[in-house]
Amino acid sequence: MNKGKIVSVSGPLVTAEGMEEANIQDICRVGNLGLIGEIIEMRGNIASIQVYEETSMVGPGEPVESTGEALSVELAPGLISQMFDGIQRPLDKFLEQVESNFLNRGVAVEPLDRTKQWTFVPTAEVGARVTTGDVIGTVQETPVVLHKIMVPAGIEGTVKKLEQGAFNITETVAVIETEEGDKELTMTQKWPVRRGRPTARKLNPTAPLVTGQRVIDTLFPVAKGGSAAVPGPFGAGKTVVQHQIAKYADVDIVVYVGCGERGNEMTDVINEFPELIDPNTGESIMARTILIANTSNMPVAAREASIYTGITLAEYFRDMGYSVAIMADSTSRWAEALREMSGRLEEMPGDEGYPAYLGSRIAEFYERAGKVIALGNEGREGSITAIGAVSPPGGDTSEPVTQNTMRVAKVFWGLDSSLAQKRHFPSINWLESYSLYQNEMTAYIGKELDTDWTNMVIRSMALLQDEAELQEIVQLVGAESLSERDRLKLAVSRMIREDYLQQNAFDDVDTYTSIQKQFEMLTTILSFEDEANHGMELGAYFDEIMEGTIEVRDRIARGKYIHEDQIEEFKTIRETVKETIHQIVERGGMEENA
């Protein structure tokens, strides 16, 4: 292919002439250094190339060569537990190769280990007819992930030969006889990141993604196959929320895209994750996690690609029939990368300088989430849950990225800096946030627990809502002016806030709460309200009840630290509540009714 010549360089944007043979979205090698770039605009023979590496010292006249391939990721065993940059270069290999903690330029690193031997176990039979998406064999990649080797897209035929044993990912493991001749299959597939992988059918999400975070699971649940946005100002805890979900969500695979945030946050991930044990499988959670890092000091253009790289990896595992969660922290940085490129391309800016196509790009990402039936005869069901953090400047959620995200994401966990300042974490504001999956998900959990969970959730929400209204009155005229019933409401909603919604991510027990325990905790708090109301009906005064129950309320408050396997204790707490209030009523002189 003809080589082009650089005309101009403007940050990550390089224009080159003599590129008439290249196509849009082709990957190019730019300059004498051979930087990796992608064509994002073609005008006649002039191509605009976004370069995924630092472009200083690159000048006009240097050559540009198109590879004729779109930006693709390599999909094969060896992905799990790896940390890649935005264009799927493994960072540990990178470090070895360049012996520097920073990205050197023009370095080509194989995305996956070519030499490692994987034990391939065939599952198809010779002579069987296979089509796209059929599983021909499996590789036990980590203790928890069974990597299914699927027939790549566009191949259909009969299995002619099937190997068994240890292979690396470039060796042929199967031969398929197709109409266009024999096709040799390795364990590797390539897929262009900007195109969604095809599926047989999209399904409606039905099951909740259990995260072990009480405020999320109870009040604002997200479905497996759903999409959620976590907007919040600096320091409100977006990253911790994302980390918590990555750690404890009941999914098979987690793809964590650190996109434009501080490098130390990725360091936290690398330091913490290997030590943590997945409560669902008993293995280290690193055994199901893929990390993609494009920290704030890494090239901007690669940031744009990192989101697509992440979701393509997620789609690959979804096609195997796994439930996958992809975390993007933060999509604002990604949108800013879009803005930077758009600005350099001299496109007409939209709101706040973001490109006019910001909305469609964000939608493109979130729409790749979903619950699907994968291609192939088996009809495997897989799902991708996309959870994107958004960092609106100044916490103002009326800015374009948040607004466009809200349009496509069905769950909105609005983080609140005033809650964060009060040390209420996770600082998800219960009045602002919403989940459009709430009805289905609470009904599902209710069925699972065999209780009226929906009602409990609605009641807690109503209490919190009432509290906000009552608080206004209290601020005007003082708590004394409220009726006793309202004061009880305040007390109970305070219990819900402090003893239930507040959750310490850094406490060994409190960091994860199973649905069963959530149910017990909420039942206990709500039963306190019932009992107190009953006591007041029988003549006890609010103040007497509050004074008499200090001890037992303290026990309710410490309920979050009760170990998962001791949740019967909540039952005794509830009995104590009943007894205590009973005694208070007796002392209040109403013994004949009590």
Partner: protein, 103 residues
């Protein structure tokens, strides 16, 4: 908006109120007094007269109705004479309302 008037106190003190047509309830100790006051409040009495010696024994109950519009719990002296709690309460309320004791 017609409301009933109830009187709670020891028998000797409150009996005469019966002549005026008020509902009279005899209470000899704190527990009984509290029960009556609470009950009358629940039954939507507009005014509850309570004798001072009993009120002294159930400050929580009296305080409970301080900030509500209905019922008004008004303290009255009993047949043994006034303890001045009732008057003091009025003065306090006036002071709260006007900012100065003008009585």
């Amino acid at each position: 908006m017609a409301r009933k008037i109830g009187v709670v106190g020891d028998k000797d003190s409150v009996m005469p109120f019966k002549m005026l047509g008020f509902d009279v309830f005899f209470a000899s100790d704190a527990r009984e007094a509290r029960r009556y006051v609470d009950r009358l409040a629940k039954e939507e009495y507009g005014i509850i007269y309570l004798t001072e010696p009993l009120a002294e024994q159930i400050p929580d109950t009296v305080k409970r109705y301080d900030d509500v519009i209905e019922p008004a719990v008004i303290l009255i002296p009993n047949h043994k004479g006034s303890l001045n709690i009732g008057k003091k309460r009025i003065q306090e309320n006036v002071e709260k309302a006007v900012g100065q004791n003008i009585l």
